[in-house]
Symmetry: D3
Subunit: 137 residues, 6 copies
């Protein structure tokens, strides 16, 4: 079993808040991340896939193919977008890094399976100090 990882980037706006809370409650719970006029991040995304290297290529999975799946299913939806307002798979979800990592996993898994590999991990760095990793259910 070999693990291969592709690193990608996207830049998005978001805020953390619950619509049923007042601005004061949101500030108390979510701090400055609740700013009603948004803020944003350079997200760093690391997608890890596992499998056996194929004898004819030496690849677990062609990283260009993996990169294309990430572009189609994740980056096109998230890059230079507002996560709360524009991303279909985050509708109705709190835009936390945890929920975003789970949403990205769900976006990526079918295409990676269809390519004959297995998704192992979605790692998302919101800042260089705040990192989330999801390994599936």
């Amino acid at each position: 079993m070999v693990y291969i990882t592709r690193k990608e980037h996207f830049n998005s706006a978001h805020r953390l808040f619950r619509p049923e809370y007042s601005d004061e409650e949101n500030l108390r719970v979510f701090g400055k991340c609740s700013n009603p006029l948004w803020h944003g991040h350079n997200y760093l995304l690391m997608v890890t896939v596992k499998g056996e290297p194929k004898p004819e290529t030496g690849f677990v999975m062609d990283l260009k193919k993996l990169s294309q799946i990430i572009a189609d299913k994740v980056l096109d939806k998230l890059d230079h977008k507002n996560i709360n307002l524009e991303v279909d798979f985050m509708k109705g979800e709190l835009a936390s890094t945890e929920n975003l990592a789970i949403g990205i996993w769900n976006e990526l898994e079918p295409g990676i399976n269809a390519a004959g590999a297995t998704l192992h991990s979605v790692r998302l760095e919101e800042t260089e100090n705040n990192i989330v990793e999801y390994l599936g259910k």
Copy 2:
């Protein structure tokens, strides 16, 4: 003459656009950076000050003092904010990295002068691939 640099970070939302343009014109000129619902970045800021080390401390300027000036004059205004809507010194300016670097220079220079040092450079990394540096007029 010795140059000292303090590195800081802030996370903000912005968009690039001219209000007199249509969305189509803004898209043509500014690309996906013109998204009307915003996007954002982890900005990396490097402020360089020059001077002679003082004999009694060995410091050109106490970096804690420099860090405090940056916090008061720049980070408190920019971090977790919307650059277009909430930052006083960017009112009426296009929110490009170039203009932001110039704006930050103007915010910082009086306090650094008052501390007996000379501002040499404001370097601003919008992403790890896009970097702006301003050395004053």
Copy 3:
């Protein structure tokens, strides 16, 4: 199950030695790390906590809360200190990165449990080339 990581830094002095050894024996076993007049490092600490994101916040654990626990229990004791002489939880221990990671785990675990989360990993980078990770017993 989602894993969240908070990255922190501290700068400390230490030396590797056994008091019952002569300086020559310490030099032979621990190399230049045994220098009797100390040396030091910028330690990079990554603390990983696991759990389910809470529905009301989307957080496994508030990273500001995690950061506060790390500050109170670890950074206040280690930053700008001498690990051999000033750190209560390293008394009588060899100041290796391995032992330091175990000591940090023991410092952090009760507070993280009390916050309703589970400590998963303490990763400590002494230099960018020398890294230790401890996942508990």
Copy 4:
């Protein structure tokens, strides 16, 4: 159980191709990595070993010893070499990062075992965006 990691670098040339394919077929399967006149990389290698810290040193394994094993068994064979033409343990193998990580594992395991430790992982970064990890059979 504690995990220790040593990070090393080597710079090599390689190409991805199957000798029974035409240049066109190799280009279709392996893309620009099939260039018949070679290309190359700064490979970053992270070797992780696990064990209990020894009471007399506080070390799982002396990182200088681990570094020496990596130099003797891996870096001397790979650094400033052509992976396809000059590396004994890659003879007859496709020079993919996956196969290279497995080959490095096989080179390192006996010496690490002989030193009383257990090899846990070989992580190899071909570029900062393309990463492979092998944890053994």
Copy 5:
């Protein structure tokens, strides 16, 4: 005057040698970089352009335009290529990082001038420890 920098990457093979030298002389002068079967690097390229931000865009120069010039004039010629054998502007030159930086400058300057900006610096990192910068004649 504002300085903007675009960071790009390419992966190439090369060797350092003089054809009139024997292998032994090349080894003595250029060390392991003279390996006749090539080695390679992940080169990191930073191109800095200077000018006044334009009032209508806030840009010194559109970084997408700069990135396109770099792709057309430099990356297409160098990425996944053999610098000694395949790069037109390096024909007859020693493939040192110094000469490569000068060659890249000469490739880039006309297109950047034509775009109304001024090339300020070409910085080329062969490894993270070996860096060359050229500021023109």
Copy 6:
């Protein structure tokens, strides 16, 4: 004129203090950096030399030669040492990063001149956020 830079590392202990001050005065002026029992850093050193590439090698200066000069004159004296107590060229100096950069310049300049090149800059990163650069008198 081409600039070449060699990056090196050393790990040292130090403290900032004036012997004629009380511990309280030192704490007030130098903060936690005045800890009487020392602290330390992983210093990152970047030495930049300028000159014309030599026609016979394509080098401004052989980086292995530069690296050797840095090892002999700087790293051997500083690495795993106490800057205040063990470094000859820092005797009687406040161990600030500014003074250390100037001291390193003075150590390096004669050997670089003797090698036919010109020292341009000594850049010293005490932490990733605190950086000093000295360009000579």
